[in-house]
Structure formats: C-alpha cells, structure tokens
Symmetry: C2
Subunit: 152 residues, 2 copies
C-alpha cells in the first residue's frame, strides 16, 4: 500500500473522485448530446449552402432554420442536472461553469435562439440573405462552446 492509497480511498468515500468509468451515460446527458447533434445536422444543411458545397434550396434551408427555432424552444430543465459535468461523467465535455454560472449559460442559449430566429427569417429569401444571417448563428455556437465546453 502506498502513502496515497488511504487518501484515494477517503476521496472516493466522500465523492471527490467519481467512478465515471463504472457508470453508463445518464439519460440527461444522452438527450442533451442528441440535442446538439440535431442542431449540428440542421446547421450543416445551412452551412453547406452558405459555403457552396451544396446547392442553395430555399425549401430545405427554411426547414433546417425552422428546426433550429424549434430546438431552441426546448425547455432545458431536464437536460443539465447537477452532477453531470465532464469531471463526473465520462464522455461529457460539459464544463462545471454551466452550473457555477447558470445565468451566463442561459444567456448564451438565448443568443442561439435569437440567431435561429434570424436565420429562419432569412433562409428562404435567397443565398445572399442566408449567408448574411449565418454569422450570428455560428457565433452563438462558438461563444457557448468557448465558455462551457471542454476543448477537444
């Protein structure tokens, strides 16, 4: 037994070291990661058109933008329970700052909702309009990820 073993045992007992390796992904974490995947899929449709890697299609752009507005309307009460940060949950990149700075996190989420509304208003109006509205959308993703997501 090394000198650190009792310390590790004590830390485990009082919960300082989480047995992340032993638990499966909590439903809330799977759900919020799914939410991000849904956002990414729809943003990908719009971003592909903006970049020119896909042909502009007003109907498809509108559908994707509307989906982003719908996703932004999901209430987040159940998707971010305490105890599901990246330290406690293997496979999560959610930083503890989500829980220590809930107002900032909610504000960033609100910025995403506003950006989604803006792109929904522009997406069907032609490629130039779409391109003009995509900046704030990408910016809202990046701002939140910078502050509240563990870097890769």
């Amino acid at each position: 037994m090394t000198r650190t073993a009792p310390l590790i045992a004590a830390a485990l007992t009082i919960g300082l070291i989480a047995p992340a390796f032993a638990q499966s992904t909590p439903p809330a974490v799977s759900a919020r990661q799914g939410q991000m995947n849904l956002m990414a899929l729809n943003i990908g449709v719009i971003a592909g058109m903006a970049r020119g890697t896909a042909d502009y299609d007003a109907d498809m752009a509108q559908i994707a933008a509307n989906n982003l507005v719908t996703l932004a309307a999901l209430d987040q009460s159940f998707t971010w329970p305490e105890g599901t940060d990246n330290f406690l949950i293997e496979g999560s990149r959610a930083l503890p700052e989500i829980w220590t700075d809930p107002e900032g996190f909610a504000a960033d989420y609100g910025d995403f909702a506003a950006a989604a509304e803006a792109i929904a208003a522009a997406a069907g109006g032609g490629l130039d309009a779409l391109r003009g509205a995509i900046g704030p959308l990408g910016g809202s993703c990046g701002a939140c990820h910078d502050d509240y997501r563990e870097p890769n």
Copy 2:
C-alpha cells in the same frame, strides 16, 4: 480462395454488402437517435409521475409534455436519409420498412404528435388527468417501434 469469394467481391463492388464496420455513425443517425433520447428523457419525467416513482409536479409535467410537442414539430426531412437502415449502419436499429413504407412511418409519427398534444393538454391538470393521457403516448411509441425498429 473459396467459391464464394468472387461473389462477395462482386457484391461489395456493386454495393450489396455495405462496409458498416468501417464507417462512423452518420450525422443524420446521431441526430435521430438524439431525438429519441430527448423524447425518452421527457417521457421518463411523465412516466415516473404516472407510475408513482416520482411525486406529481404540475409544472414539471407540463414542461415535459410541452417538450414532446416541440420535438414532434421537428421536420424529419434530414434525419432519415436513404441508406441509413440497420443493415447498412452499425448501431442503427432502423428497419428498411421506414423507406419501403414511408406513409406508414409518417402516420405513426403523426400519432406521436397527436399523443403529445393530448398529454400537453392534460399534464398540468393533476395526476389523474396525466395518467389518463399517458396510454396513447406510450402506445404511439410502441406501435412505431414494433413496425420500424429492429427488436433487441
């Protein structure tokens, strides 16, 4: 070389055998699985109250039910591209019937939307009202999974 090897090589060439083992999960599959995880999380809130494993809370029940209505409003144009069934994509349980019977699949999805609306109308009105509306919700999940999802 066995007699079947040329047949397998030919099948691979014309795409009859998909290299599912070699590819990562397509974004559309991650997104639709995420959608199901979001549904499950919110249904879990309601089901826990209905079963009595969680205390009834009108506000929480209403939030969960509203989220189901929101999720049902997501346009499904991008989440089920052809070529993403359980034979072609490792980790997907989506049966080919989704693509051979799109009307049936859409009808089942519509039943979920109707059940979500019904539970949203009832969820905040007390535990008895919630319990009275949960049957069609669970039924809509089961009906679609029976027909369009690979059994475990």
